[in-house]
């Protein structure tokens, strides 16, 4: 029985089946790859100034209207280390590590956003503080 329907497929049909199967398989892999690790995006206005994986520790300095804001990616989280803003609220906010977490240095116009899938679920939609 199997042989009969296989015999009806031409070489082109088989290639087509293989190609489509491969495309379907890849379509499952691509989003999985995008969500494998959390990413940090630093934005200012409509521009994205910096993107990095939270898996790669590093120290970074970015410039805003007031001067340099220095931040650190370490242990799967980002935290602001120093900033030229007057009240240093961005430093006091601590670390951001979960997808959807936000930090901001408002006077220096920098927004730190965690995107992608983090290891732990955030468990909430919004944070009141």
């Amino acid at each position: 029985m199997k042989r009969i329907w296989l015999q009806r497929l031409t070489a082109f049909d088989r290639k087509l089946v293989l190609l489509l199967s491969a495309l379907v398989f890849l379509s499952f892999l691509v989003p999985l790859r995008q969500e494998a690790g959390a990413r940090l995006l630093v934005e200012s206005g409509d521009k994205t100034l910096f993107v990095a994986s939270l898996d790669q520790p590093q120290l970074v300095e970015l410039s805003g209207p007031l001067g340099l804001t220095r931040f650190e990616i370490k242990d799967g989280a980002v935290r602001v280390l120093s900033s030229p803003c007057p009240n240093k609220i961005c430093i006091g906010l601590g670390a951001a590590r979960h997808s959807g977490d936000l930090l901001a240095c408002v006077p220096n116009r920098l927004v730190f956003r965690i995107a992608g899938k983090s290891a732990e679920g955030q468990g909430y939609d919004l944070l009141s503080r």
Binding site: M1, I4, W5, R8, L9, T10, D13, L16, V17, L20, L23, V24, S27, F28, E43, P86, N87, I89, G92, L93, G94, A95, G100, L102, A104, V106, R109, V111, R113, G123, Y124, D125, L126, L127, S128, R129
Partner: protein, 329 residues
């Protein structure tokens, strides 16, 4: 069993089915952020038409910027700044007059713990400048002269101050009001599920895909840890705390929530979270309950309809209203 063309058609149908199954569902979430009113504003909106959602969020942010230009004291040309500079009766917009009246009502309901007239006090502390300082007792007394719930006389659009030097400051209500305006703009645009978070002042429109929104409350002393999670629908949540805007002198922490009775930072609480029907009310009540301290603050929140609260006392003790539903984080 099947002819060759039928196999190809069957295969294409299978592929189409898989693609349809992999495609995002009907309702999408759009998340946008902006820096407005000196804080980070995050907007989460659900809907089916992404273009409409984009337009609605853009209009919502524009509305918030309009409110910022109207009501904030750090904009010299705002109505509130001009009212503060006015020596005699000053005509404001109907919108500003209505908000001042609401604020005055809340000031009376809280026995003056919430106050619209602490602008001078904020200035002498320099709490939002890069050089905050601890003022002298004489400076504090001067800044407290003529303040209080009856310090403004509002008749229609005309506002008179009890003293020409009185500085109006809507910091304890304007951000909440802006959040309410954002939700109203989204509602008018046909959005039925949205959340806005303006630096901790949160407004919720409807539910999140049929489930309550889960609002986490920051622990006031353990950075990065949560105190609790509140499941909420169609409510506003505001937290006032002593842990973000403060400075230290000689080992003493001076934060930004001032007690109108003393002119100094209120010392009874570490944080207060208020849940109310609208964010302007929640904003003002969170400040008032913080000033009153945990016991008096709790009594205030218990006696007001449609209001719940969670207060953390200065020693870390937790007080909550009888109707508050919360979950472990």
């Amino acid at each position: 069993m099947f002819a060759r063309p039928q196999w190809v058609i069957l295969l294409l149908l299978v592929v189409a089915g898989l693609v349809w199954w992999r495609a995002p569902g009907g309702e999408r979430q759009l998340v946008r952020t902006a820096l407005i009113m000196g804080t980070l504003v995050e907007l989460k909106v659900f809907g089916t038409n992404e273009d409409e959602l984009e337009r609605a969020t853009a209009a919502a942010f524009a509305e918030m910027r309009r409110v910022e230009a109207l009501l904030t004291s750090y904009r010299p040309e705002s109505e509130i700044s001009r009212l503060s500079r006015a020596a005699g009766p000053f005509i404001v917009s109907e919108e500003t007059a209505a908000l001042l009246q609401r604020g005055q009502l809340l000031a009376r309901q809280t026995g003056g713990a919430f106050d619209l007239t602490l602008g001078q006090l904020k200035q002498v502390w320099g709490i939002e400048s890069d050089r905050p300082l601890v003022p002298s007792q004489a400076e504090l007394q001067a800044a407290l002269t003529a303040i209080g719930p009856e310090a403004l006389q509002i008749e229609g659009r005309s506002v008179s101050k009890r003293s020409a030097e009185l500085q109006v400051e809507l910091g304890g209500i304007a951000k909440g009001y802006a959040v309410d305006r954002v939700l109203e703009m989204l509602r008018q645009a046909g959005v039925t599920s949205a959340a806005v978070n303006a630096g901790g002042d949160i407004g919720l429109l409807g539910a999140k895909q049929g489930q309550p929104w889960r609002i986490a409350i920051q622990h006031p002393r353990k950075t990065g840890e949560l105190l609790t999670v509140l499941p909420l629908v169609n409510r506003a949540v505001v937290t006032s705390g002593d842990y973000e805007r403060y400075f230290e002198r000689n080992g003493i922490r001076y934060h930004h929530i001032f007690d109108p009775r003393t002119g100094s930072p209120a010392r009874g609480c570490q944080s207060v979270t208020v849940v109310a029907a609208d964010a302007a009310t929640a904003d003002a009540l969170a400040t008032a309950a913080f000033v009153l301290g945990p016991q008096q603050g709790l009594r205030l929140l218990e006696r007001l309809p449609e209001v719940e609260g969670l207060l953390v006392g200065r020693d870390g003790g937790i007080f909550q209203t009888s109707g508050l539903q919360r979950e472990e984080p």
